[in-house]
Amino acid sequence: MGEDSLHIQRVLKGETSSFEILVEKYQRYVFSLCLRVLKNREEAEEAAQDSFMKAFRKLDTFQQSAKFSTWLYKITWNTALDQLRSRKNNLSTLDKPENHQIADHHFPQPENLLQSGQNVELVQLLVTRLPEKESTILTLYYLHECNVEEITGITGFSTSNVKVILYRGRNLLRQKLEVLMKSEIKEML
């Protein structure tokens, strides 16, 4: 029996404090996933809290044979998407979509990161600027170390669709980097 399963058993027996161990373990994964979908820290935090609440309430429906992380990410993905849909529905004509993007002033500009040679930070920043689907699938694949089958289970997309989105996301990222580098070289000349 895995470590997660032991904690789940304890929670189901009424020892709710054991759930905190699971929260501590997965909070960064859940929050990162929400942030990639919603692109707003406050909303992502709210969605991450909702995801854990739902997981806690539905814990008795979790099948012990499955992987807890995959089950939790599936709940997170659906919660974040619901929040994104409700935001889009509530978006008035005065409320510009860019208000919901990750505020740029909190992050360095890609040009500055390129100049200072902070390549990892640059890639991370550019991933957050990709469309939701691409950004999320790349996050699940690289950060959460999920394979294509697990991503299929989490998102409900077909295997071929996941592969296409993964491929498209990586290429979009490479193109963005290429454009940045070209403009940097032009500036230097």
Partner: protein, 154 residues
């Protein structure tokens, strides 16, 4: 179906190519510098993606969540004197105190005999009454403190 070089390189980096396809790509890269340049570019993006770090939520994230799941237990302390009785006894004590002090003070003043004032406060029944009032307020104070109605914000 012929796959674009980019796709083949990504599959190579994912470990998704069989051994023959891997060797074929490596051989082509050795012969074609432009393909090697493309491989280096994609490889840099791939290592950047693999080196990403997770985002950190607020420091109180888990505490806030656990408070929602497990709200702090309310005090189960039962007051020594029930609230309703407290109010009735308080009203009676206040009224009695007011009248006893009024009488105790007005008699010596009316008869112009100040020593009676000292004697009145020192007399047995009044002293007992004053001690009883003090004890009663002490119990109420204790109840209020235990039920968290006072000092809760400290």
């Amino acid at each position: 179906m012929i796959q674009p070089d980019e796709q083949i390189i990504w599959r190579y980096l994912d470990g998704d190519l069989d051994e023959i396809a891997q060797r074929h790509l490596e051989k082509r890269m050795a012969e074609d510098p432009s393909l090697k340049t493309l491989f280096d570019q994609i490889s840099a993006v791939d290592s950047g993606l693999r080196s990403q770090s997770l985002e950190q939520p607020s420091l109180r994230f888990s505490k806030t969540l656990m408070e929602k799941i497990q709200p702090p237990k309310k005090s189960v302390y039962r007051p020594l004197i029930p609230a309703f009785t407290q109010k009735r006894i308080s009203a009676a004590v206040v009224a009695l105190s007011f009248f006893s002090i009024l009488i105790s003070v007005s008699i010596p003043v009316v008869y112009n005999e100040p020593q009676i004032l000292n004697e009145t406060f020192a007399s047995g029944p009044v002293a007992v009454f004053l001690w009883a009032v003090t004890a009663f307020w002490g119990v109420i104070f204790f109840d209020q403190w235990k039920t968290g109605k006072i000092f809760n914000h400290f």
